[in-house]
Amino acid sequence: MLLDRRIDVDTRTLTPAQVPTDTLRGIEQFLYREARLLDERRFWEWDSLFTDTGMYWAPQKHDQENPFDHISLFWENRMLREVRIRRVENARNWSQQPQTQTAHLIGNVMIEGLDRSGLLVVSATFQVSEWRLEQRQLAGRYTYKLASQDDGSWKIQLKRVDLINCNDVFANLEVFV
């Protein structure tokens, strides 16, 4: 199910898209809110920003084409995201005592275009300071596939997290980047 090759993770084959300024501002605010939910560990609310089939993906390789024939740092559907949330919220989560704290900084938000299904592809550069016993810096680029909703809001069909050190030696990554 997770390695279903029909899941479209292509964020390169795009058609150009023009977006009005207020829509762009709305998308920026959406991304900032998403980051704030992570920083405040409001993970269930964060997960609700995804569509039912939405995927969270952090490749392990630079320019990784897909999560199907290569390992990924994260490749999670709603089930696996919920398991992660349940675990970090469990009382006996020894490795979350003390818990991970983060501050996300997001910038360079760009409209990339439309994918084959008409989803809006948006990218942003991020810096995440993460602390648990010691502090580390995570940085890279997010690429989103956003699905517009009837009420004018957005949902995430894909969040791709390209870390600049994706193939590095890592201490555990316990919370979403």
Partner: protein, 443 residues
């Protein structure tokens, strides 16, 4: 000051070990010389260097080495050092060096077996002892290299048992991993995770066969998997492999812990012929192996229901889910683990998909299971730095294990036999009795 053999031997009792084996930097340095300087250590799989000139760097203990495919197809293991000024010849990682190594500092070049090829402006060496044929002007090879079914091991000692002799009965885990391919071959595929632990390397080996920790340490991921399964009304593979740690004590008591000389061993469930047909992926795999080997042998291969295997000093192959967690000591309180995933050549794609999923869910740095392990290892490391006590217990079922000619087997799956066995090997290496014995043999 370097401790005497008597002082080292006194750190290991039949039922306990002194905490300094995890915390003393002097002992760590001695381990690098006496264990990693002698034992056969897994360097990598030959599939990581497919063509002549392909290389893969890693470490044998504290030594930077490069595994490289030679022009004749043979896999060489060389110290990553130019004999001129000492520069590492290739950067850490994987790549191809072409037909020869060329030092980035002064362009000395070396063949793929490390032998000196050339140096610029040779006239400057006239009248000196420069001799391209002398080993001092070549890259040094690690003393012994053996390739068992594609698994490349090296020993920094010129003497001692051969690889098969060193591995003993644990070699059957490598066999089973390979036999799961209809042509008997596996390859490293899909990338390699690297994970850091804030603890001494030995605690990970002990934990691999520590059946008493599973349901305690992993309570958070077991409960998370179970509550998620309840919420969605099914327990797919991704949740099942997290749920397994939550088995009750009597499940673990029934397992069999097998210990071999030199610290090796594995944890085995009772042979399960039904394993060949327990799910769709296994059934497809079984059909494929049946065609290659016939049904009885296919059933025997897939029915070998082994959990973690320990190859002491190298790491832990997992034969069922096609992984090898390679354990590399970094310092007395830091360890790096390289996690390889294997493709069974010729087996259905679903077998590799399952291995990849296992790697992503269980062995990735983002695993929901591993952080609680890594956390308790780090707590042991820090707790053992206190003055709160000197000894570490490995008392469970001591004196009840059944001795065998080539090792021992537990009478109860919660026995701490594997830890006692690992430290028996540790003591032997560290007090050089094994080495002395081997030297006599060699002479």
């Amino acid at each position: 000051m370097i401790p005497t053999n008597e002082q080292i031997a006194a750190l290991i009792r039949e039922d306990s070990v002194h905490k300094s084996v995890y915390t003393d930097p002097t002992l760590f340095q001695l381990e690098m010389e006496r264990i990693y300087g002698h034992a056969w250590i897994y360097v990598g799989h030959e599939s990581q260097v497919k063509n002549a000139g392909d290389y893969h760097t890693t470490r044998i203990g504290d030594q930077d080495v490069v595994m490289v495919r030679g022009a004749n197809g043979q896999v060489n293991v060389l110290y990553n050092r130019c004999p001129h000024k000492g520069a590492k010849l290739v950067a850490d990682g994987d790549g191809s060096t072409g037909k020869f190594f060329r030092c980035p500092y002064h362009a000395w070049t070396f063949k793929l077996d490390g032998k000196h090829l050339s140096a610029p402006l040779k006239s400057g060496f006239e009248g000196t002892c420069y001799d391209p044929a002398h080993p001092d002007f070549s890259m040094a090879s690690v003393a012994r290299v053996e390739n068992y079914r594609g698994f490349v091991f090296a020993s920094q000692a010129a003497y001692g048992p051969d690889l098969k002799g060193f591995l003993g009965g644990v070699i059957t885990s490598i066999d089973n991993l390979c036999d799961r391919s209809p042509i008997g071959e596996v390859e490293v595929a899909g990338g390699v995770f690297r994970v850091q632990q804030r603890s001494n390397w030995k605690v990970f080996y002990e934990n691999l066969h520590d059946t008493m920790h599973a349901r305690v340490t992993h309570e958070s991921s077991v409960e998370a998997a179970r509550s998620e399964a309840e919420a969605i009304g099914e327990m797919p593979f991704e949740l099942l492999i997290m749920d397994g740690n939550g088995e009750p004590y009597d499940f673990w008591e029934k397992l069999e812990l097998r210990a071999y000389h030199n610290g090796h061993g594995y944890m085995e469930a009772i042979f399960d012929p039904a394993a060949a047909e327990r799910d769709e992926v296994s059934r497809a795999h079984f059909d494929c192996l049946s065609q290659a080997y016939g049904e009885p042998r296919a059933r025997a291969i897939l029915g070998m229901n082994r959990h973690n295997t320990v190859i002491y000093g190298s790491g832990s192959p997992h034969t069922v889910f096609m992984q090898f967690r390679v354990i590399r000591p970094v310092s007395v309180d830091r360890t790096m683990v390289e996690i390889q995933t294997f493709r069974c050549k010729g087996a259905p794609d679903a077998v590799f998909d399952r291995a990849l999923t296992y790697a992503n869910v269980i062995n990735s740095p983002s695993s929901n299971v591993m952080p609680d392990d890594v956390e308790v290892y780090a707590r042991c490391q820090e707790g053992n730095m206190t003055r709160g006590g000197e000894w570490i217990s490995m008392h469970r079922y001591v004196g009840t294990d059944t001795p065998l000619e080539d090792g021992a087997v537990s009478t109860n799956g919660t026995s701490e036999l594997p830890m006692r066995n690992q430290f028996a090997a540790w003591k032997q290496f560290m007090t050089a009795t094994l080495i002395a014995k081997e030297s006599t043999h060699a002479a």
